[in-house]
Amino acid sequence: MKVLVVDDEKDMQTLFEQRFRKEIQKHEMDFVFAFSGEEALKYLKEHVHEAVLILSDINMPGMSGLELLRHIKHEFVPPPPVVMMITAYGDDENYQQCMQGGADDFLTKPLDFNLLKQKLKTIM
């Protein structure tokens, strides 16, 4: 399964690679990283239907996670990929916006990787 992680913080890549090192070694999961909404969109256009899951941060400079979500859910040929939103702003307002935008799930920072792994397993 190919997972696209979108976050403006570069450390996110290191963290994911370490957290999922076993899955990556076993080739159960494949991670691609984008550091902005624009970058993520570009990747998705070039690799249609490649990424099954997208994990996106909401607060990013330039295109926000919410905008990216709207692009993914409206512009791509169905079936659109599963999108999980990750944010430090876990308030009600943000949650509602994500759900209205068509997000499949909503996770808050600090990210609970055990919970994330469980969710990924159910999707797989």
């Binding site: 913080e9 963290l15 957290r19 430090a88 808050t108 600090p110 990210l111």
Partner: protein, 455 residues
């Protein structure tokens, strides 16, 4: 003797008229009336009994008497002209009678000449009477004018009094309006101050929320990297176990790995602690929706009691107080605005802790023992929830008690209190929730705030 009778009656009437018009005097009026009756009786007697030879002298005395009184008494001053007018006639008549009574021949001849004197006396009388009439008229005119002036003056006085009354009324009206306006302005000022304070609190809350959220981003890395490092340490240990190196060196490596692992655990533990603090902050600074919702009052009170106690402890490590809690579990949930009621609790608890701190300081200086206690008691009272927040601090005297709900009133040193806490709390309880807020206190002993909220 017709002349004397006529003159007497004329003069008496005249005098009586003068008296009535200018100098009302009962006593003299009576005398003049009797005199008139006397004249009438005397005239009748004279004609019936034919005693003219006696009465003519009485007439003369009477006339002379009238003349004397008229000239003597000040009240009859206006009639003097008339007296002077008739005086020659009276004297002529008297002299004539006296001459007739004598038998001296010279006087007899003289009495014949007297007849010539009468026309002169009558002419004199008429001339003077005409003058007197004119004078009388002038006098009356003068009098009428005087009376009119007096009337006018009285009317003016009445109008003046009326005007003064109107002015007084208007003044009273204006004063009451001014007081009303002042009251309204004071209310407005207080409201404005409260709004500013609330706005400050609100923006502070938003700021806090923003910061709290942002802190979660770095915390994400701290917690996750440390956790993953623990796992990596375990893996490293397994790898080292497989190595074929000398035992002491292996043990050394194990020791270092163990330390790294435990350090990572510590970082993770404290990161999680920071996370829970931030989550707590977010809980308190969540945006005030201003909406009433079913809220567990016991939990809310407890949360804010802890918050203000720990807030104070953070500033003063030596501070300690017994927190006495008696929650009525049957209270259930009440429809309130939790942020607002929370602020009331925070204000009341902060005040309580301040009061016991101050008292503790005083007692310590005096070398007396003191055990600070802040207590909360909730109770279900029919359709109401009663919340009592009590401290055994300094209490309040009457003067302070009268002012505590006024905006800007504070007993704290400058810069330490806005003086708005209790006034905002009072508004929240009474205006927003339709409840009551009462105080019980004894100076130097205790202070107790009693909140009643409709359940």
């Amino acid at each position: 003797m017709v002349l004397e009778i006529l003159l007497s009656i004329l003069l008496l009437f005249r005098l009586r008229k003068t008296l009535r018009t200018f100098h009302p005097d009962k006593e003299w009026n009576r005398i003049l009336n009797y005199a008139l009756i006397g004249v009438a009786v005397l005239a009748v007697l004279e004609n019936v009994l034919n005693i003219e030879y006696i009465t003519k002298w009485m007439w003369h005395i009477l006339l002379l008497g009238i003349v004397f009184i008229a000239l003597k008494k000040e009240a009859f001053a206006t009639d003097r002209t008339i007296i002077y007018a008739v005086l020659p006639l009276i004297l002529l008549s008297l002299v004539g009678d006296l001459l007739k009574a004598t038998t001296i021949p010279f006087f007899e001849t003289l009495s014949h000449y007297m007849d010539y004197a009468y026309p002169v006396a009558i002419t004199w009388m008429i001339a003077l009477l005409v003058r007197s009439k004119k004078q009388q008229k002038l006098l009356l005119e003068e009098r009428r004018k005087r009376e009119e002036e007096i009337k006018e003056y009285q009317m003016m006085m009445e109008r003046k009094a009326e005007l003064e009354r109107v002015v007084m009324e208007r003044t009273a009206e204006l004063v009451s309006q001014k007081e009303e306006l002042e009251h309204a302005i004071n209310d407005l000022r207080a409201t404005q101050a409260q709004l500013v304070q609330r706005e400050k609190m609100a923006s502070l809350g938003e700021l806090t929320a923003g910061i709290a959220h942002e802190i979660q981003n770095p915390l994400n890395f701290v917690n996750n990297f440390s956790e993953v490092s623990v796992e990596l340490s375990d893996e490293l240990q397994q790898e080292v176990t497989k190595l074929s190196i000398a035992e002491p060196e292996k043990n050394n490596l194990f020791h270092v790995i163990k330390d790294i692992r435990s350090n990572q655990e510590k970082i993770n533990f404290h990161g999680k602690r920071a996370d829970s603090i931030v989550k707590g902050m977010l809980l308190h600074s969540r945006k005030s929706s201003g909406q009433k919702e079913l809220t567990d009052i016991n939990m809310l009170a407890d949360e804010y009691m802890q918050l203000s106690y720990h807030g104070l402890r953070a500033k003063d490590k030596s501070f300690n107080a017994t927190l006495d809690k008696h929650y009525d579990e049957t209270l259930g949930k009440i429809n309130v605005v939790p942020q607002d009621i929370g602020r009331v609790f925070l204000n009341l608890f902060t005040n309580s802790f301040y009061a016991v701190t101050e008292k503790k300081q005083k007692k310590e200086e005096a070398g007396q023992p003191y055990e600070p206690v802040v207590s909360i008691v909730t109770k279900k009272l029919g359709g109401q929830a009663e919340i009592r927040i009590r401290d055994n601090g300094l209490g309040m005297n009457r003067d302070i008690l009268d002012k505590i709900f006024q905006p800007f009133f504070t007993t704290k040193p400058t810069g330490q209190g806005t003086g708005l806490g209790l006034s905002i709390s009072y508004d929240i309880i009474t205006k927003i929730h339709g409840g009551q807020m009462n105080v019980n206190t004894k100076e130097g002993e205790f202070a107790e705030f009693i909140l009643l909220l409709p359940a």
